[in-house]
């Protein structure tokens, strides 16, 4: 053996205890009734089950596929039926349960169809790697690193050395020793195959500690008698033996011993051109590729003084520990604790039913004498033995202090992450400090801190993004609000600029007109506004009431009550305003009934005050057309005998409309543009009264005759007006007005004629007899109202603004009294109109309040 050995720095010599398990031959463990196959038997992502409960599976059938590149498949270890896929106890130091596929074996142990390959060395590397991956092989030395990943080193680092690890340095364990003795030929063949897959590295070394002379002899024998034609490249393979020392079997340690190279901190062996595989893995690869057998069994050392029999056994992966232990005569009472793995790096098995997995190289069941409980930890005396023992050249003492202080920065500065957790430091510690446990905990904390840091960075990003999004939304809202405000201001300015300069703002009628007009600019908006105001007021009133009722002290109560009352008043105010507005909206439509037609007509007439004669004429035209329609309808509905009169009325209306149209064209001719005339004509104060009269007549008229009479009246009044106008008109307007007067006179004549014709056609004598009386009565009432209105108008015209207001207040008060009376009467009779009366009364009261406030 010419191979140079680089002695391991540090390390310890614990009692080997390997003889116990080497006394008996390798056993073949029976197939248990149930196999429990954890989905995570390797490092990396757990495999994903591809079978369902109830599926029949054969030995070697893949039951879970690798989930991503850093994963390994799981195969059924024997034939049977999948009975469960659920969490079961698994060999893990946490004691947590993991997902497992449970197979009830049928005992037949039938294989899936396998493809054997006579000459695997002829296969392409990719094909070989794929088969390794499909066979679910993971490092069988104990770590469980997916082998396929390890065999595909980064392209940047060519592999010049392949090392097969047959060191098995941990006490008690002899599984690899037995394997090397029994399967030395396959190890050599597998080794050559691995070399082939890695591109024939120059150095192929099989490292074995010198405490396994039989294994070394077997390997040497295989090397000597195997033919180079059967195993290509066998000449390059060397078996290297070196002095026994714990932990020579660590990957980095073995590399250092055999090559003198050190794996960089945080790096992989592949970075320095080295690949290292366990002997067990090597055999598994050979089996998988040569015979098509996926990884379904392994050799496990079952050892400890609580067993009647100790030794190695070839066991199916997934066999429950309890089943194997029973075969070896396990005495639970004698057992101090069950350990998966060796005494140095193993962990307490949390559950005796946890299965043996791909990485289970040993099941240790020591007696109390054999493995007494650890001594209680004492204070560190700074002896420095741990630093001498550390095979990774770390400073365990310093790490211990920093771990206690949770000083992660210094722990990392002292390369805690290079600790292989071999336990050499704890083994030599005279104070029995469980050093490894400190390191494991600190490593976990550092990893957690890294994850937390990543998460907190992501959180910050999310938070900042959210802030930005909210800000942007707010800015957009603000911009919209500003735009709306601007638009509103522009609209306001427009509205302010609208009234003609000639109009007298001091005139309360004109002001009211402007208000009405402004309101009518956009009735929907106005309505919405009023409704909003009302809702606000009522909400405020409600909350005030609640508060008032909840108030404790009298003082508070009084205060709150006052507030509540105030809110209520405001609410009523808003309500009346809303009702008022709604009514004014309604009154603009002709079809609406009203309990006060004269009032309504007056308001309408006042509205018209602001209109130019042309607009007035147009309005009249509209209303006439409306009336014509109605009259036509009525004519259609009327009895045979009334039809004549109706038709006459219709004819008359048609005539009137055509006249009006003429008038409009005339007016258009005289007035070149609308708005030229002053909106308030001193003469037009008469006009509302006339209109009121006409309206009243229209409301009250019940028969065509009356209607005709009312038209006559209105025509007459219009004639009067026109004549007045004519008297006061300018010279250039005179001809047009003169024609208008002439036309009106003509119309009056026709209407009078019509009336005469209509009266005799009424065939009911009683009706015809009573009609004139009714007409007279109505005419009396109407003329009384007209007279009153005229009087008022005259009085108003002569009054100062204060007096006018006074008069208005007076009249309002009177009207309120009347309305009150009406309401009382209605209530006494339980009339249907109570609500309407109430509303009217409220409205009046409101108006009064408004006036008084002014």
């Amino acid at each position: 053996m010419s191979q140079l050995i680089y002695p391991l720095r540090g390390g310890v010599h614990p009692p080997e205890n390997k003889q116990q398990s080497l006394q008996t031959k390798l056993q073949h463990s029976a197939i248990p009734a149930e196999l429990i196959l954890p989905l995570s038997q390797h490092i990396g992502a757990p495999a994903e089950a591809i079978v369902n409960i109830g599926d029949k599976v054969l030995r070697g059938q893949m039951i879970a596929e690798p989930n991503g590149p850093f994963s390994a498949a799981v195969h059924a270890s024997s034939s049977g039926e999948v009975i469960a896929i659920e969490p079961r106890p698994i060999p893990h130091s946490s004691g947590l349960w993991g997902d497992c596929i449970v197979i009830r074996c049928d005992g037949e142990d039938r294989w899936v169809p396998r493809t054997e390959t006579e000459n695997p060395y002829a296969l392409e590397t990719d094909e070989l790697l794929n088969r390794v991956r499909q066979s679910g092989i993971a490092g069988m030395g104990g770590a469980g690193f997916p082998t396929a990943v390890k065999l595909r080193p980064p392209a940047t680092s060519p592999i010049d050395t392949l090392i097969i690890n047959g060191t098995e340095c941990e006490p008690y364990i002899t599984a690899d020793d037995v394997l090397m003795q029994q399967r030395s030929d396959d190890i050599i063949r597998g080794c050559a195959l691995l070399a082939h897959m890695l591109g024939e590295p120059d150095n192929i070394l099989i490292g074995v500690e010198d405490n396994k002379p039989e294994a070394i002899a077997a390997l040497e024998h295989s090397l000597a008698h195997l033919d180079a034609s059967e195993v290509p490249g066998i000449d390059h393979i060397k078996v290297v033996s070196f002095p026994t020392k714990y932990p020579s079997g660590g990957e980095k340690q073995l590399i250092q011993i055999l090559t003198g190279k050190e794996v960089p901190s945080g790096g992989l062996p592949a970075h320095i051109g080295i690949v290292l595989q366990n002997v067990g893995t090597t055999v598994a690869i050979w089996e998988a590729i040569r015979y098509g057998k996926p990884l379904t069994e392994r050799i496990t050392t079952v050892v400890g003084e609580s067993l009647k029999q100790q030794g190695n056994t070839l066991v199916r992966i997934g066999t429950p520990s309890a089943f194997v232990l029973k075969q070896f005569g396990f005495d639970e009472d004698r057992c101090a604790r069950l350990i998966a793995g060796g005494p140095m790096m193993g962990f307490s098995l949390p559950d005796i039913n946890a299965p043996l997995v791909k990485t289970s190289n040993c099941l240790l069941a020591p007696s109390h004498q054999e493995m007494p409980d650890p001594e209680p930890a004492q204070a560190c005396i700074r002896c420095g033995h741990c630093a001498e023992a550390c095979p990774a050249s770390l400073l365990p003492q310093q790490l211990y202090w920093y771990a206690q202080a949770k000083d992660h920065d210094r722990l990392q500065a002292h390369n805690l992450m290079d600790c292989i957790e071999c336990g050499a430091c704890a083994y030599v510690c005279p104070s029995s400090i469980p050093l490894v446990q400190y390191y494991r905990a600190s490593k976990g904390e550092i990893r957690q801190a890294a994850i937390d840091k990543e998460k907190s960075d992501r959180s910050r990003q999310r938070f900042e993004f959210r802030q930005k999004r909210i800000e942007a939304a707010e800015a957009e809202k603000e911009a919209k609000r500003l735009a709306r405000k601007k638009a509103a201001e522009a609209a306001k300015a427009k509205a302010a600029a609208k009234p003609a300069p000639g109009s007298a703002p001091a005139d309360p009628v004109a002001a009211a007109m402007a208000r009405v007009q402004a309101q009518q600019d956009d009735p929907a908006e106005q309505l919405a506004k009023l409704e909003r105001a009302f809702n606000n007021a009522s909400n405020r009133a409600k909350s005030a009431e609640e508060k008032w009722q909840q108030a404790e002290t009298d003082e508070q109560k009084a205060k709150l009550e006052a507030r509540f009352k105030q809110a209520q008043v405001r609410m009523k105010d808003a309500e009346t305003k809303l009702a008022e507005f709604k009514q004014s909206q309604n009154s603009s439509s002709l079809a609406v009934d009203s309990d006060d037609p004269i009032e309504r007509a007056k308001a309408k007439a006042q509205q018209r005050l602001s209109m130019s004669p042309l607009e007035k004429a147009r309005n009249t035209l509209n209303s006439l057309q409306e009336r014509l329609k109605k009259a036509q309808q009525k004519a259609a509905e009327a009895d045979e005998d009334k039809k004549g009169a109706m038709n006459a009325a219709v004819d008359k209306l048609t005539q009137k409309i055509s006249d009006l149209k003429q008038e409009i064209t005339d007016l258009q001719a005289t007035a070149p543009g609308p708005g030229n005339e002053s909106p308030v004509d001193p003469d037009s104060i008469e006009d509302p009264i006339e209109r009121a009269k006409a309206k009243a007549m229209q409301r009250l008229s019940m028969s065509p005759t009356e209607k005709l009479q009312s038209s006559l009246k209105s025509l007459e009044s219009r004639l009067n007006k026109s004549e007045e106008k004519l008297a006061s008109a300018d010279a250039d307007q005179r001809p047009a007005l003169e024609t208008a007067v002439a036309k009106l006179q003509e119309k009056i004549a026709t209407v009078k004629q019509e009336i005469r014709e209509a009266e005799p056609s009424d065939n009911s004598p009683a009706a015809s007899a009573s009609e004139p009386q009714v007409v007279a009565a109505v005419e009396d009432a109407a003329s009384a109202a007209i007279a009153k209105a005229k009087e008022k108008a005259a009085a108003q015209a002569s009054m100062s603004p204060e007096e006018k207001r006074q008069a208005q207040v007076e009249s309002l008060k009177q009207r309120i009294d009347k309305a009150q009376q009406r309401l009382d009467n209605a209530m006494a009779e339980n009339n249907d109109n109570i609500d309407a009366f109430k509303l009217g009364l409220e409205k009046l009261q409101n108006k009064l309040a408004e006036l008084e406030a002014e």
């Binding site: 140095m344 193993g346 409980d373 469980p434 957690q448 938070f463």
Partner: protein, 208 residues
């Protein structure tokens, strides 16, 4: 004019004055050219804070608290960060690490995440508006749920829920996030009062 004819004192003054001007110009240029935007301490402190944005410190988020610390505020007001964060900030600022101020809440050993009992959720979106992490998914009148990976456990969503269907749950320990715990410290009472011969045989320790 020949400089050597000048009085040595004047010459020295001239040279020193010239040097002062030169260095002043260099420093002035450097101050403008290499100006650092904002206070770097704020960023560094913000980096150490846990970014739960929970507001337990009295600030509306972690960065405002970092700004507060940069302006001399106490560093022990962050319960989610706990003593470790306090230590880290103390280390950064070169001050003694104080204990966590209990007024702002207690440090919890096990991280928590919000959990919405989905059967009870009425879909009001109040919690979504409260979540500083955008970690709650859902829309009006539809059931909401928490994206566990993004939840920082700030519990700001618990209070606004009108039907009380949100609760804080400990993060479940799984095989992937399980980690070893530190052994109980040596100076604990138990360790001092017992000697090797009278301790219980059941006390577990490391395999070694």
């Amino acid at each position: 004019m020949d400089l050597s004819n000048l009085h040595p004192l004047l010459l020295a003054l001239l040279v020193l004055g010239g040097l002062a001007l030169l260095f002043g110009a260099i420093l002035g240029f450097a101050a403008v050219r290499y100006k650092i935007e904002g206070n770097p301490i704020i960023d560094q402190v913000d980096n150490l804070l846990p970014q739960t944005q929970c507001g337990q410190c009295g600030h509306p988020g972690c960065r405002p608290y970092a700004e507060g610390i940069a302006n001399g505020e106490e560093i022990n007001k962050c319960p989610p960060g706990g003593q470790e964060t306090i230590n880290a900030i103390a280390d950064l600022l070169g001050v003694d690490a104080p204990e966590l101020d209990a007024e702002h809440g207690a440090e919890s050993d096990i991280p928590q995440v919000a959990y919405i009992r989905e059967d009870e959720c009425i879909g009001c979106t109040k919690c979504i508006q409260a979540c500083p992490m955008d970690a709650i998914l859902g829309s009006a009148k539809h059931m909401h749920t928490v994206i566990v990976d993004e939840c920082t456990g700030c519990d700001l969503c618990v209070e606004p829920c009108p039907v009380d269907c949100i609760e804080m749950r400990d993060v479940e320990i799984t095989l992937t996030n399980w980690k070893w715990q530190l052994p109980s410290p040596l100076d604990g009472v138990n360790q001092q009062t017992i000697i090797a011969s009278d301790r219980s045989p059941n006390v577990e320790g490391d395999a070694a």
